[in-house]
Every structure is written in C-alpha cells, then in structure tokens.
C-alpha cells in the first residue's frame, strides 16, 4: 500500500511541476509580460514526454521568449537527471537556481541527495536556502521528507549522527510541521547507532503507531536483541518479514533510501536467532 501511495504522490507531483505549466494569468496580473508570454506559449503547445526531442525544442522556444523563466530550465533538467547525466543536469538546474534561488535550491538539494548521494552538496544547498528564507524549507520533491530531514540524513551519512538527531528532534517538536512517513524510523536507527537503546525503541514505537513498515520492525529487532529480549526480537523480525512480503516497506522508483533493508537482511537475522 505504501508503494502505491508513494507512486500516486510521485505522479501527482510530477504532473504539477514537470509540465512547467504555471498559472499564466498570475504572471499577467503581476505585470510579468515576459513569463506570461512564454507561459501562454507553453500552454498552447502540444504536450510531449519529457525525454523527447520535441519536449526540449518547445521548452527552448519558450526560453527564447523569456530567458528568465527559471521553471523551464528546471523542467529541462529533469530529463538528464532521470537518465543519470549529472553534468548536463547540473548545468540546467544551476541556471534555474541562479535565476530564482528560493524557488529551486531546495529541489536541487533534494536531487543531489536522492540521485547522487552528494551529501555535502545537499547540505550546502539547504544551508544557502535557509539563509535566504525565514520559514521552513518545506517538503522534498516526492513529498515523503521535509528538506530538514533530508539535511539530517546527509549529516548522518557524513558521520555527524548527533547533529542529525538534533535536526530531526527539532523538526518533530515543531507542531506546525507534519511528521514524514519515515521520520521516526530514521530517528530510531540514529539512536540505535549511538547506543541510546531506550530512545531508539521509543522512536520505533512512534513509527509503528503512525505507519508501520518492514524496516521499522527490522531495526526495532536489532534494539531488542541488544536488550536481550529474544522472544520480542523474533516477533519483530517475523513482522518485518510479513510486512516486506506484502510490499509494506520503503520504496523509491529511482533508487533506495537511507535505512532501507532487503529480504536478505531479514532472512539473515532470522537465521541467526
């Protein structure tokens, strides 16, 4: 179910952003003739799949009308991102960021993390964004993480686990922000990794209450093993196996998330009981 919910969100977000179709009339009302004309052109142009030559030629025509229309560079960059062409992707998304950093820094940061595991680059972009805004940076492109959580995961991957914990705890304490579908899972793993088993268990139980998944039960079992609770450990691993076999686990069509586990991990842990 999580997988299909995720796919729905991805598709919806993709439809709203990648078509680069803004509300043209809003540009008109704001007196932004340049973007209004380019937007109007795009609205009337035929639609093509984002990897096709025609898609890019139409976007280039719109850029000829309005070279400052940053969303178009971003839309064009996506084709290169999804085909792994990090060099051309970066050139295009850099242009979008240069024209409108507040709008695109968070997206560039997320892509650096999701597609290229460029942890320091992600942190640099998010810090640059936070210097420009006085509000929460909001969700990442697929909607599953707040960008602050993405930053925390980058710190974790760079070995700064206490800093990662502080960021996640601050996010969870902020009642104006939603709790992401994996936030407590990541927090629990972080606490486990620094040896705070009680805090880890508390986080896994919070994750269980808000949305259980195979990873949560698997990592919870590791805590229970350390606590010497063999029966509870076995029960958690069996739940992990059942959840995994029912596709209730972390899923990303473009890659694999931090803290994701696989069937072989669960089976190995069960065999060691």
């Amino acid at each position: 179910m999580i997988k299909y919910t995720y796919l729905s969100i991805v598709l919806l977000l993709g439809m709203t952003r990648l078509s680069a179709q803004d509300n043209c009339y809003a540009f008109y009302l704001a007196g932004d003739t340049c973007r209004y004309q380019a937007c109007d052109f795009l609205e009337k142009a035929p639609s093509y799949f984002q990897l096709t030559r025609e898609y890019h030629l139409i976007k280039d025509q719109a850029l000829a009308i309005c070279p400052e229309y940053s969303d178009i560079y971003r839309a064009k960059s996506t084709a290169y991102l999804k085909t792994g062409d990090f060099i051309q992707w970066k050139k295009l998304i850099d242009k979008a960021v240069e024209l409108n950093p507040i709008e695109h820094l968070g997206y560039r940061a997320w892509c650096r993390f999701q597609f290229f595991r460029d942890y320091q680059g992600t942190i640099d972009d998010l810090e640059a964004l936070n210097d420009l805004i006085d509000y929460n940076p909001g969700p990442c492109q697929n909607g599953f993480y707040n960008l602050n959580i993405a930053m925390a995961l980058c710190y974790k991957m760079l070995g700064q686990k206490q800093k990662a914990i502080q960021i996640i705890e601050a996010h969870l304490a902020d009642e104006t922000q939603y709790t992401g579908v994996y936030d407590n899972l990541h927090l629990g793993v972080l606490y486990f990794e620094i040896g705070d088993l009680a805090a880890a268990l508390k986080a896994f139980e919070a994750q269980e209450a808000s949305g259980n998944l195979a990873e949560n039960q698997y990592h919870k079992a590791r805590v229970l093993e350390k606590l010497g609770q063999k029966e509870a450990q076995k029960e958690a691993l069996e739940q992990a196996l059942s959840l995994y076999q029912n596709d209730i686990c972390m899923f990303d069509p473009y890659g694999h998330q931090v803290d994701k586990i696989f069937l072989s991990d669960i089976e190995a842990a069960l065999n060691e009981l």
């Binding site: 142009a45 035929p46 990897l51 025609e54 030629l57 084709a79 990090f86 460029d118």
Partner: protein, 168 residues
C-alpha cells in the same frame, strides 16, 4: 470561401507557433544510445528496435534479478582499490538491456564533485566497466504484445579510488 481561407491561415499560424523545429542537436530521446560499430557488440540485439526502449524507472519492478545487496557484493568483492589511482567523483555507466535480460551498448561518463566532466584513470574505469559487463542477472521484460528493452544505469561513488556507494 473567406471563412475557409481564414481557418487555413489560423491553422497554419498555430502550427508554426507550436511545432518545434526539426533542426536540433537533441537525440530522439535524451539519453538515447545509438549503435556504434567501433565499440558495440554487433550480436547484441534489441527485441523491439531502437525507438521503443523504455527507462528503468518505468518498469514494474526493479531490473536486477536479486536485491541490491547482491549487486553491491558483485562489485565490492571484485573491485580492487589497491590497483587504482586516488581519484574522487562519480562514474556513471549506462546501457541497454533487451527483453532477454542481455545488456549491451555500454557508455561511461565521469564527473568531479563540482559536477564537471572528469576522465578517471583506466585503473578505475576498466574495472567498473568489466564488472558491469559481467553482470548476468538483469531481468528481461515483456508486455502482452512485444518484448521490452530498457535503459539502465549504475552510478559509482568513488572516493580516493575506493568504491563507496552504488546507485540507484
């Protein structure tokens, strides 16, 4: 007659406005890999021709027959960092997989951490290319009407010659 002429002119105008120019450096699809007789195996055949290959993320399931830890093990067990230069950055190897699960038309690209093009030493790239070509567990896919070919890629994170991560 006047109305028909006006409609014709309007249609022509709209067509001129919206139809992209045929002249461009873009391939048919971004990322297309055309057969190159200088470097590609002529025996590698696509099941549905060059124009119908899809992207890995559009598949109904992940393309490797086992899960990611097995793919990582394939590389980590055989990649010898002792033989490499101390370079860092990302290396992408992109290729096609046909409906029978055979891979071909491998292309390599490298970047430094400023996202600038980088040509890594062959002590790194030859190993990664050879190990990628030796993978035999890509899945073959079919639809109801035809065999599906797809583009896939692996990105290797290299730090001082060490293989640190494999994506996606």
């Amino acid at each position: 007659m006047k109305t028909i002429t006006q409609l014709f002119l309007l249609a022509t105008l709209l067509a001129c406005q919206s139809k992209p120019s045929a002249q461009s450096d873009y391939p048919r699809m971004i990322g297309d890999i055309a057969f190159d007789k200088e470097q590609d195996d002529p025996d590698f055949k696509l099941c549905s021709g060059d124009k119908r290959a899809i992207q890995y993320y559009a598949l109904s399931e992940k393309p490797y027959a086992e899960e990611k830890p097995a793919l990582e093990k394939h590389f980590l067990d055989q990649y010898d960092a002792e033989k490499t230069t101390r370079e860092s950055g990302l290396i992408r190897i992109r290729f096609l997989v046909n409906c029978e699960g055979q891979a071909g038309r491998f292309r390599i690209m490298g970047m430094d951490w400023d996202y600038q093009k980088k040509t890594f030493d062959t002590s790194i790239t030859d190993q990664l290319m050879s190990l990628t070509k030796s993978i035999s567990k890509w899945k073959g896919f079919s639809s109801k009407s035809r065999g599906l070919d797809y583009y896939n890629y692996l990105i290797f994170k290299i730090e001082a010659g060490q293989l640190k991560e494999i994506m996606p």
